[in-house]
Structure formats: C-alpha cells, structure tokens
C-alpha cells in the first residue's frame, strides 16, 4: 500500500474498524488451531500419568524410556539416513527439473513433463506407493533387484521430494531478473559458468529451503515407506504409526517433542543464516550500484 493512500482508499481496502478487529480475531483463532496440537504434544510429554490425557504431574521418565527403546532408536537412525540421501538427491534433480520448466519454454512433451513433476504433490500416496511397489516387484522378477529396503524407500521419497524441491526452486528461478545472467553471457561466460557463478549463488537460499523441506518430508512419510519397506527396514514413522493406531501413549509424545525440538532448531538456524546472507547480498548490491 502506498503511504500516500487517502483515508477513503484505505477504507476501501481494509473496510471499517470493525472488519479489522474481525480480521485480527480470525487470524488469532487460526493460529491457535494450527499450533494447539503441537503445544499439547509437548506439554503431555512431561505428564506423569499412564493415562495419556489425564494430567498427573511433571516427569521426565518418558524421555528416559525413549533412549532404551531399541525400535525407536534404530528407526530414527534409518529414517535419518534415508532423509539425508532423499534431500540431497531431490535438490539435485529438482534443480534440473526447475530449470527445464522455467528456462526452456518449448520442448517436446513439456506438458507431460510438467504434469509428472506436479502430480506427486496431490496424488494420493496410497496410489503412488502401490504403483511404485508393483513396478519394483516386476523389476525384481525380471532383473533380480532391487530388494525391498532402504533403496526402494528412497526411490519413493525421491518422487515426492522432487515435486516439492522443483516447486520451491522453480519459484525462486522465476523471480530472478534475467539481466544478470544475460550480462554474464555477454561478457563471455559459458552457460555452465553462468550457472555456477551467477545463478547458483542467487538461488542458494531456495536450495537450502528445498533441502530442509524434503528432508522433513522424508523423515515424516508413512504411506510410501509402508509400501516400499522390506522386513528389517522399519522407519521411525512406521514405528510411531503402528503404536499410534493402538491408542494414545505418552512415549509417542516424548518422541514427538524431541523431533519438534530438533526440527525447530534446524529451521530457525537456517532462517537466521538465510536472513543474514540476504542482508549481506542486499548491501553488496547497493554498494555495487553506488560504485557503478
């Protein structure tokens, strides 16, 4: 909104005072709705009562039990490994896919390509999981590999991760002013140099966001993992899911709190780093413009 907007114009946009209070109330209630379950998980993880929804005083015993829970510990380790590999590969392939969609407007089968990249965003996971598994089974019959396990779970997660990574990276690529790349090209840089020296630094922030997002997606996935895991490859969400099906249990609350804490620290750290980097970049740009 321009600072010179008249009172009348402001009222046209925001409506009368009452609307504004209504808006604040709606936002407030919306955020309560979004955060209530997270808050409840954290609070009840300290609940000293075996009946999960009745408060029985403060305790740390569920955290102690967690460390001795072999199923949880091995599940977490497996999930972390898969999530790491998924995030790295999703970002790498996502850069390619985002480039193809944003930079190359016309190529054969572009509509099909765009459809295939976007579809996993909405496609019910039971369908994706089932179809990928049946293909892998057919492949195993014909070629003798792959066994169901880490590798097959990774293939499924990569499908989902690629879709999200492409959206995040593609959005950033679209916002880039093309002049910088064109200038570099005019100065004689080869396309690969332009990419490494100009484009990559400018989209670095989106790469980090995409990496974190695909990492957490993979760390969280139940349905694809259930279809694609073999015996002996039980990820943490599968452990949690099978327990949660049976009912509410305080040990899940403790796992939840640990995960929430680790992820929040990661995300906050990343966003602080991103903000700092952005500020430095803005300063450099301003300095360059003054100097030029």
């Amino acid at each position: 909104m321009s600072s010179g907007a008249t009172i009348k114009a402001r009222r046209a946009i925001l409506g009368p005072q009452a609307t504004r209070w209504f808006g604040r109330g709606w936002l407030g209630l919306g955020y309560v709705f979004l955060y209530l379950p997270i808050l409840a998980l954290i609070i009840y993880s300290f609940n000293d009562s075996n009946i999960a929804s009745v408060w029985g005083g403060f305790t740390l015993k569920w955290y102690g039990q967690l460390l001795q829970d072999r199923e949880v510990v091995t599940g977490l380790w497996l999930s972390m490994q898969i999530a790491f590999v998924t995030a790295c590969s999703s970002v790498l392939l996502g850069i390619f896919a985002a480039f193809a969609l944003v930079k190359y407007k016309r190529f054969k089968g572009r509509t099909l390509f765009a459809g295939m990249v976007n579809a996993p965003l909405v496609m019910p996971e039971v369908i994706v999981g089932l179809s990928l598994l049946l293909m892998l089974v057919s492949m195993q019959r014909a070629l003798g590999f792959p066994e169901r396990g880490m590798l097959t779970i990774w293939l499924g997660h990569l499908l989902l991760g690629l879709a999200y990574a492409t959206v995040v990276i593609g959005a950033r690529l679209q916002d880039l002013p093309p002049q910088l790349e064109e200038a570099a090209m005019d100065l004689g840089a080869k396309p690969f140099q332009v990419f490494m020296l100009v484009t990559l630094p400018m989209i670095a922030q989106s790469l980090l966001s995409a990496w974190l997002l695909t990492f957490t997606l993979s760390l969280d996935d139940v349905v694809l993992s259930a279809f694609l895991s073999g015996p002996g490859a039980t990820t943490l969400p599968l452990v949690i899911f099978s327990r949660a099906r049976l009912g509410v249990s305080p040990s899940i609350n403790a796992v939840a709190t640990v995960i929430i804490l680790v992820v929040s620290v990661g995300v906050i750290l990343a966003s602080v780093l991103i903000a700092r980097q952005e500020r430095r970049r803005a300063q450099e740009m301003a300095a360059a413009q003054r100097g030029g």
Binding site: F96, P124, F241, S264
Partner: protein, 314 residues
Amino acid sequence: MKARTMAKPSFIQGLLRGRTAVIGLPYAWLLIFFALPFVIVAKISVSEMETVHFKDLISYADGMLRLSIKLGNYLFITQDDLYFLSYVASLKYAAVTTVGCLLIGYPFAYFMARARGTLQPALLMLVMLPFWTSFLLRVYAWKGLLGEHGWVAEAIEAVGLDQLLLAAGLIPALGKLMNTPFSLVVGMIYTYLPFMILPLYASLAKMDLRLLEAAADLGATPWVGFWRITVPLSKAGIIAGSMLVFIPCVGEFVIPELLGGPQTLMIGRVLWDEFFSNNDWPMASAVAVVMILLIIVPLAIFNKYQAESQEAKR
C-alpha cells in the same frame, strides 16, 4: 572472482551444458519411476492372481498367441456395495474438507495479505512452520485433544456444541467425539488448511489494490468491492488450493486410520486392506485405477492452473 579457475572445460561440464541433459535427466527418471508404474498397475489390475506370480497377459504356447484379460475385479467393484460406498464416502469427506478449508482459509489468507507489510513475512512463516513439524504426530495429537478428557473435547462439551454435532449426525452420542466422522473431518481440515492458505495468500498478496481504490471512488462499498473484484481476482488461488486439498483427501489413509474409527470407510483404507491384509494385488490395483479415474479431472484442472500460474509469472 573465481572465474579463472573454472575456465577449463571438462567432460561433465560438456554434458551439463546441453539442455538435453537438464531436461532429459529428470524426464527419464519420472517416466521410469512415475509413469511406468501406472502402466504396470493398470496391467496387474486385469491380471489373474496365481499363487506367486500373475499370469502374463500375452502368452504363446503351441502356436497360439493368447491374450487374457480379467475384468472380474472391475465387475466386483461395480457390484459390491463396500467399494461403491467407500468411493462415495471418500468423495464426500474430501468435498467437506475442501469447503471447510476454504471457509476457514479464505478469510485467514485475506487478512494475512492485508496485514501490515512488515508483519507479513512473520505471519507467513507461522503458517509454514507446521509443515516442518511431523504431519503424523500432529494428526496423532488430535487423538488426545478430542479423546476423553482432551482439551478440545472438554471445551466443546462445556459450550454444548456436541449437541449440535449430534443433531448434525456427525457424532453417534453426546460426549463421544473421537473416532467419529467429526474427528475425521477436524483432522483432515487441520492437516490440509495450510495447503489452502498458501496459494490463496499468494494470489491475494499480489493483487493490485488500486483496483479497490478505483471501485471505491466509483461508489462501491467495501463489500461490493470484495465480491466483484477481490474474489474474481483470487480465482486461481481458490482453484489451486481446492485441488491441493481435494485430490489427496480422496485417497487419504493415515488420517482416517488414526482419527476415523471403524465406521468411516474411505477408499484409501480399502486399498490398504486389499493389499496388506488380503494380499490381493490385482484387486488393490483395480481399486487404485478407479481412484485415478475419479481424480483425473481435478488433476487435469490442477495441472492447467499450475502451468498457467507459471506462465503468468514470466
């Protein structure tokens, strides 16, 4: 700068330079691991299940080329009430969830987009943050919140809202909120709300507010301006958000399993049971094929709008 050290071309550089590699690599990957599996599912859905293998569709023996297609699974789906009812229920719950997300999400996105500019990144971050927190655990948390003595359950009972829910047929008895259609819908709206808010916010935030000023100058009340300018201009966001919610909801498995209880039949659970409990892979495939047919129209709409919004940004 580092430009000089990068000058020597290598094999990989040469390979990466070509747009063929940039397009070809993800394209080939998606064809093999996304498109091909659907073909195989379609094939298996018309195959006959034998003890360990499926029969091949085309077989050649004694100089006879045979093509055997079993349509029994599809016939069964059309004739058996269980499947029909679960498809209907899935579409119904998906529709209710979509409308619920729109009713809550539209005002939310609207006031977010009209908040002070300096405040917006923080408001947006707060909507994104639950994405970083496990979806499974957030859904699980509702089991506690809506269960006996849960915070939300007690609050609803305190204000007598459960009488309304009982009258609407969303819960079977007073005080029983968990494992009902109500808890299922709450869980689904809760999970998919951010998927509605984010595209709506994107389309509302980039709207040219001068149009509203112009309308006001011409005598439109804020309400008229909202209905005749803001809503039509956010159409792309409404469609994208609705599709992002509706399509995955049709096949949702985890939320009905954790919050829906035994009465709420949804097709995702039926598919899961066919596959894991009955081990009937051809039947599970047939269920999946019918599900794809049901969502193919909304899917096409979603892709069209996704492509258009990508074009519009250029």
